[in-house]
């Protein structure tokens, strides 16, 4: 009898709809988001070759209040993808990785929260403090 598909008691399947799946969905969405940001980011940085005025004007958009929250969202995506990526690496290479994959996901979420609290506080303080 294979038990690969469903866990006993009808609690869904081993993978579908549980921590493993949601962390994968999150990793995939953040990966795509960061990829498209990076395409735009290299384009905006390349304006330093057009003229200082062009670069300063476009990069000025990053200093708009709405963008400040956009940056917090972007960094939130990066930090989740980075920490969860390290978890994936540990699941793959560390002997005990598969046993503790859920514990590590909770660790990822806690570390993410702490990092983002610190980052957001500093980013907002700089933003409202300057100018």
């Amino acid at each position: 009898m294979t038990q690969t598909k469903s866990t006993p008691g009808g609690r869904g399947t081993l993978y579908k709809g549980r921590e493993g799946m949601w962390s994968w969905v999150g990793h995939r969405i953040t990966g795509v988001g960061i990829f498209f940001f990076l395409l735009v980011h290299v384009l905006d940085t390349s304006l330093v070759r057009v003229s200082p005025e062009a670069y300063n004007a476009v990069i000025g958009a990053y200093k708009h209040p709405i963008m400040i929250f956009g940056e917090i969202g972007l960094v939130g995506a990066i930090v989740f993808h980075a920490f969860n990526g390290l978890r994936i690496i540990l699941v793959d290479f560390w002997k005990q990785g598969t046993r503790y994959h859920k514990h590590m996901l909770y660790a990822v979420l806690i570390l993410w929260f702490v990092t983002m609290a610190a980052f957001s506080a500093r980013h907002l303080m700089i933003f409202f403090g300057g100018e």
Binding site: M1, T2, Q3, T4, K5, S6, G10, T13, L14, Y15, K16, R28, G31, V32, I34, F35, L38, L39, V42, L43, T45, S46, V48, R49, P52, E53, Y55, N56, I59, Y62, K63, I68, E71, V75, I78, A82, G85, L86, I88, I89, D92, F93, F119, R122, H123, I126, F127, G130, E131
Partner: protein, 170 residues
């Protein structure tokens, strides 16, 4: 109603264990890539990922968390950073690793969702062209960057040239 899972083949009833060989035809791909390429790509995703954590976190730290943070970013700031070969090399490595890692990740996703051969071909062609353009552009920007711009008379442009330019030209 209870389902016995030993004989279920439909994906709606669950996901097969890897390598069970019982794959829903929907997920079968003609001409899948073969040989060691997928293995190399798999290792690359992990190695580049680990390196990118350091590269990107330091990038965000230097640009957003220290000094004036987001307010300091302008032409002179970039000039100041790229005057240092360490940051040139840093950004170059970050550019290549992030783009290759991201492109390979996007390739995986296209392979997962695009079921028609022609759709996959199109999407992947567009992906590779876009990535190549960005990698080449980003590389050229780092190497051809000119921090001390002058006007036609050879004087430093006021207001945009970073401090260290004064004293270099004229």
């Amino acid at each position: 109603m209870t389902t016995t899972n030993s004989d279920a083949v439909l994906p709606s009833q669950g996901i097969e264990a890897p390598r069970s060989g019982r794959i829903d035809p929907k997920y079968l791909r003609s001409n899948p890539s073969t040989g060691s390429f997928e293995m190399v790509a798999w290792v690359f995703m992990r190695v580049s990922g680990a390196a990118l954590v350091v590269l990107i976190f330091v990038h965000l730290w230097t640009n957003l968390m220290v000094g004036d943070g987001i307010h300091q970013i302008d032409f002179a700031f970039v000039a100041g950073k790229w005057a240092n070969p360490v940051w040139q090399f840093w950004d170059l490595t970050m550019l290549w690793l992030a783009m290759l890692h991201g492109t390979n990740g996007m390739r995986t996703i296209i392979n997962d969702y695009a079921e028609k051969d022609s759709t996959r071909l199109w999407l992947k062609s567009m992906l590779y062209v876009a990535s190549a353009v960005i990698i080449i552009l980003g590389t050229m920007v780092i190497f051809t960057f000119e921090p001390c711009l002058t006007d036609d008379a050879g004087n430093l442009l006021e207001g945009v040239a970073p401090q260290f330019c004064h004293g270099v030209t004229n």
